[in-house]
Symmetry: C2
Subunit: 586 residues, 2 copies
Amino acid sequence: MIAAPRGRARARLIAVARGDGAPDLVIEGARVFCAFTREWLEGDVAVADGLVAGIGSYEGGERIDARGQHLVPGFIDAHMHVESSKLTPSEFARAVLPHGTTAIVCDPHEVANVLGSDGVHWMLDASEGLPLSVFVMAPSCVPASGFESPRRELTTGDMEAILRRRRALGVAEMMNFPGVIAGDPEVLAKLEVRGASHADGHAPGVTGSALDAYAAAGIRSDHEATTYEEALAKRRRGIWVLIREASNARNLRALLPLVAEYGPDFCAFCTDDREPDFLLRDGHINQMCRVAVAEGIAPEDALLMATLNPARAHGLEWFGAIAPGYRADLVLLGDLERFSPTLVLSAGRVAAREGRAEPFEAPPVPAYVLQTVRSAPVTAADLALDPGGASRVRVIEIVPEQLITLVREVEPARLNGHVVADPERDLAKIAVIERHHATGRVGRGLVTGFGLRRGAFASTVAHDAHNLIVVGTTDADMLACAARLQEIGGGCVVADGGSVAGELALPVAGLLSGEPVEAVVARLEELHALLASFGVAIAAPFMTLSFLALSVIPALKITDRGLVDVERFELVPLGVGAGRASTPDG
Amino acid sequence: MIAAPRGRARARLIAVARGDGAPDLVIEGARVFCAFTREWLEGDVAVADGLVAGIGSYEGGERIDARGQHLVPGFIDAHMHVESSKLTPSEFARAVLPHGTTAIVCDPHEVANVLGSDGVHWMLDASEGLPLSVFVMAPSCVPASGFESPRRELTTGDMEAILRRRRALGVAEMMNFPGVIAGDPEVLAKLEVRGASHADGHAPGVTGSALDAYAAAGIRSDHEATTYEEALAKRRRGIWVLIREASNARNLRALLPLVAEYGPDFCAFCTDDREPDFLLRDGHINQMCRVAVAEGIAPEDALLMATLNPARAHGLEWFGAIAPGYRADLVLLGDLERFSPTLVLSAGRVAAREGRAEPFEAPPVPAYVLQTVRSAPVTAADLALDPGGASRVRVIEIVPEQLITLVREVEPARLNGHVVADPERDLAKIAVIERHHATGRVGRGLVTGFGLRRGAFASTVAHDAHNLIVVGTTDADMLACAARLQEIGGGCVVADGGSVAGELALPVAGLLSGEPVEAVVARLEELHALLASFGVAIAAPFMTLSFLALSVIPALKITDRGLVDVERFELVPLGVGAGRASTPDG
């Protein structure tokens, strides 16, 4: 899918390989990782026109002295969402290149929820010409469910159009695994979309004959395995095990025994959702190599899962190895423990050095991805909680460091007939305000687990539809948050005493900053500190908040359409026994 | 490249996998090979619409009791020429299915030399609907060199057209490795032909920077390595090592240490050129598994190189493994030593049982592939050898069981000023008669090494252009052979006393019989016995003869254009010092 060099460019590469032309660059004296034999070769590596010409001895060209170092292929992330970094593609590149990542396979379904197919086309445009190779999968599940309200549904037609583009590979994670297993024709149609080379999966906890059914649909990978047994079951069915180390799902250590037992084939590393602080502090795919080796995996096996294996999983030809004709995405490592690159080359050009990305020009951010927050004016009446005559109400209960929630039933505090927040009992009000079409639709409920004792906080990052989610102890603070997010085009906001106390603007689709990772992390940590002073004890309150809107992970979630009982897959009222539940169509 | 099941067919497969529909077939109780983990799984294998639905426990469907047996994926030949079997595709299928081969990747360059692109299209047509999956690579080297005269040259346009067809994969073995390494634009253009997913290589003995150059051209495989060192050098450059066990090049034992040392990845089995007797007596890819295991390779590693690895080398999705969605090409083995299938399924249907292929209908042979021998009438004058006044002449010297020849210089016997055969000294006359366009062009020379003491023998199988090659002790016998081959449309003929003494008709392109393998072998052995009674001592005289015309293997060869000094890559006269050599254009 990537244009190979043709004609004269190919002839020049061959001449350099043959020894009849000077290379552009020679990396001298390193031990060179051979992904095809799991060994280290001696020799200088010649680069011409961004490709590896050969390993040997060369005349001419710029020289890099790499004696005493290890030269390995650039790292490839087999599955991830750039949006989780809160960075634009160019800032994301600046954040991960110093860690040795030179290619990613991303599913831009967050921007797709906000901007439709325009979001995906922007992701492709915004990553054009970067020193990071950005491959895109066509989002298959927008919206994540009928309970969610993205800007619009992404159709198979949108997917086909995306898949006509260069760097677009296949069908992004098919999260609707119940639909696949049930053989739903509309779901299967997405897997059969024209132009897709393969389809990624997403099948948490699916095993046995259900897993056979999922695999029989043609799904080729999965990144949701959390146990050795689950990962083994998937690998046995020919499903690539994309071992995940996300901010909110750290599965690496649990899955390494599969690698130890069966070898690294059909395993590749991925980060799925990694928050900016994780990227800044610990790194990216190199962090997975570091952990794997610390856990006893051979460095060569770790490197395979970080380089050639993700390339093979996605059919990325000429990526992931150091050999003639391969892309000169190269990483110099001083050791095989820390995996901290001293130098990173992308297509033969220095992209990062000693932990710092080299400057490059980023494409400007077009107007159409900005100012995406279009919510109707909200008043206190829109946040009013009516239990419908019931004495007890459903409360979303956060489970620390997990995406699932529990359902708690409580007798709530009331004021003038309405249910209100009760900070003493850690009961906060929560609302999701539709923000794509200013419909004024607001879903309302109660949440426990944040520990919020005063004020409110809100975000336009709210999986997957990314409506405006706000949690608070007072309506005034909640309304202040919502109003501010409308003003700044989205982001994260904290309010107290009826006015804004802190904010991180995310003007790109309401999801991404235009700032470097350091600035984003600093601002986010200020907000975390502020919230901690309000009593919030959990580690990543904005991330936790963002997943409370994801209607496909149990047990009780909230969207702009109301409270969703994910296990029964239906909307439920606030009050227990206070009326019939309804489906998204009901 | 193979249409996956869509819509209802896919939904049915999923339902069967899920347990909600009866499979067509269940193979019960076997140990099932898992190519993804190199282990044996317990469970019944369900098949629906020719695909594997899952491994588990199923209700309904036809049952095959496989207790105590091993179920493995059907074997795949990673590189071969069907024509070497002298069988049509359907008879080839009948010959190899009992040995467990269910898919081949073939380069039909022999029929392409005789019939142009029509030959390739016929190969695709003639293999449509067989219980053997026949994948085709677009021949890249027709003619093999400018010294040879095929029916016509195959152009990049022909290759593009071939590559538009279903089951056509990529560029067939690029034999012109000097042209590739030199960066010849016409040669590189063939590697860049539109529609090719990858390019197979052919680089005998190429190592070092020349091998880097060959790899830098984008070549992805090679089947010519004869030593561990050569194979390792190729694998280190990301070139798939297609381990060959051909009739005339048995490299398997020499290359198995590579597998023992580095594992089976990037290695796959292939047969290249396998004569009908080898197929009949010893088998096909299963013979390679047998030898590999006898040599100490783990059966699981041998199986990988016989199944999933050739599929991966060629990007054959859903081939080479037993898992949901994979093609139900399945082989039952009683043991992992003999690799003699008790049952072979192709797309879920019984294709062979206990060594015998099940009957199936073969497509009829169309008229345009018959009667391809169009040679001008030949007289004794056309066979006359003129040394041009030199006292000594060049003689092609056969090296037993090798494709290379040596050059010997002798003082020949003479009669009436012409050089003649001298059976006492094992000097026979040899001629190559152009047979595609009746040009009357005849190349003439002497050969030693057959031991022929009387008569003559001839064939229209003469690599790669497949003109009519004849060797003999008398002109009369040589002319009788040539005339008979014209009459029967090609084949192998023996003459004695001025008339035909035995023959094997190969009416399809002058290369292939329409008969079953047993009949072809029997007829060929009659001819071998006849030739043995004429003094011929070498093992496979017709095969040896056929390679004397291949102008790209050292040292001295003969085509319709004359004697070819392959090392100097020029035509040379019979007489030593008898005139200037000339290039093909000279």
